[in-house]
Symmetry: C2
Subunit: 247 residues, 2 copies
């Protein structure tokens, strides 16, 4: 899969109907007209998470500040979405931005911050998370943007998981064992959730609570200490390679 060079790519939260124009909001209009300085008939790739990717062209709007896009042809059909939740203890600003972008690149479908006893950050800006996810999806050629789910406490997050969703618990304290072999015990393409704790790890009480959940796999991410954002990409890579859409 490759992008069309020099054609900007935009996530748009409305339906595309062939022959029918899409009117952009103020921010996206500003971005195309003022930042990228596009002119009428310039091309833009658009996706909305439902209708695949379309090549569209810019048309004059009712005012000079308003951008209107006309979908010309579908360039890629909508692919079946992953069902991969990524649960993580919130970290501080710049690194949280980064983590959200990277998890999006790696193909998660849902992102949920989970407050733990040793979380670094008590407040989470969900709108900022969403903006980072949209940006990564636009840049990396994704066809949808992961859903950001409201932050909750660890017990609430565990309670909210469906019983048939495999929880992959990346546990620093897990005995070292082969992560590929451990994952291969489970059915590919099943409903998955990955849980990554704060850099201080989980408390003993939290760890017990997680291990008591029935469909839960403790996974070791090797012999070194990984920072939370590294652990996110590493865990997602191994899970996607063994059970997900890299196969």
């Amino acid at each position: 899969m490759s992008l069309i060079p020099d054609v900007p790519r935009l996530f748009i939260d409305s339906s595309f109907i062939e022959g029918d124009v899409v009117v952009l909001d103020k921010d996206q209009s500003h971005y195309l007209i003022k930042v990228l300085r596009l002119k009428p008939l310039d091309q833009v790739l658009i996706f909305n998470g439902r209708d695949g990717e379309w090549l569209s062209q810019l048309e004059p709007g009712e005012t000079r500040k308003m951008a209107v896009l006309r979908p010309l042809r579908q360039t890629r059909p909508q692919a079946p979405a992953n069902d991969l939740h990524y649960l993580f203890a919130p970290i501080k600003h710049a690194r949280l931005d980064y983590m959200v972008q990277k998890a999006t690149e790696m193909g998660v479908s849902h992102l949920r911050p989970v407050h733990t006893q040793y979380s670094q950050s008590a407040r989470v800006n969900l709108e900022r998370m969403r903006a980072n996810a949209v940006e990564a999806a636009e840049q990396c050629g994704l066809l949808s943007v992961p859903t950001i789910i409201e932050d909750v406490s660890l017990p609430q997050a565990l309670a909210a998981l469906e019983p048939d969703r495999l929880l992959i618990f990346c546990d620093e304290a897990a005995e070292m064992f082969n992560p590929v072999k451990a994952l291969e015990q489970h059915k590919p393409s099943s409903k998955l959730a990955i849980l990554i704790g704060p850099e201080g790890g989980f408390s003993h009480q939290e760890r017990t609570m997680i291990k008591e959940r029935s469909l839960t796999l403790r996974l070791s991410l090797g012999p070194r200490i990984l920072r939370a954002d590294t652990a996110a990409i590493a865990a997602l890579a191994v899970v996607q390679a063994v059970l997900g859409d890299w196969r």
Copy 2:
């Protein structure tokens, strides 16, 4: 493996002999005395890539600005080093820093920038790379710091690889196939090199040159476009999980 909380950790480029003090250079002395404000008898974990990790204590130096550490006891023996080279097309400053830190966390033994036709950056600051590798090794509890090898052109980098080193070529244009199965065809713990290209990919000519090398495996990193720094961690995670020290 866990670190001792609140005890700073320092890479020191000299030998440790029990009972014999280690005299620090100006920068490291400044860091311990002025930045961390350590006092005599405060503890520091030290490693040099050869003698394992030692708990040491700060002792007064000849001048107030000079730090001297006395090794007290070995806290971890030196582990056998990986033999995993990471070859990559240089990217721009901040993201290069990040990539070097992450590759270090993931356990590479050698880092080598490789200039390609579509590289983003022509100049590489090897000293800065080294500083980033040291910092990541200190923070993540490593026992050694990866070697930074001088940047060269792609043909030179390929020629410098020993014939029995498996080159894992992360190729955006590779047909999608199961990366775990592909890696499992090879012997674990063998001499490895991972090559990640620039975000524009390799040229046709470069790709042909790489594929012509005999012990070379083309690896697909899934259906999405990954940024170079994400691809680095993702590839290293899968390789470490299947052939490296995560097993």
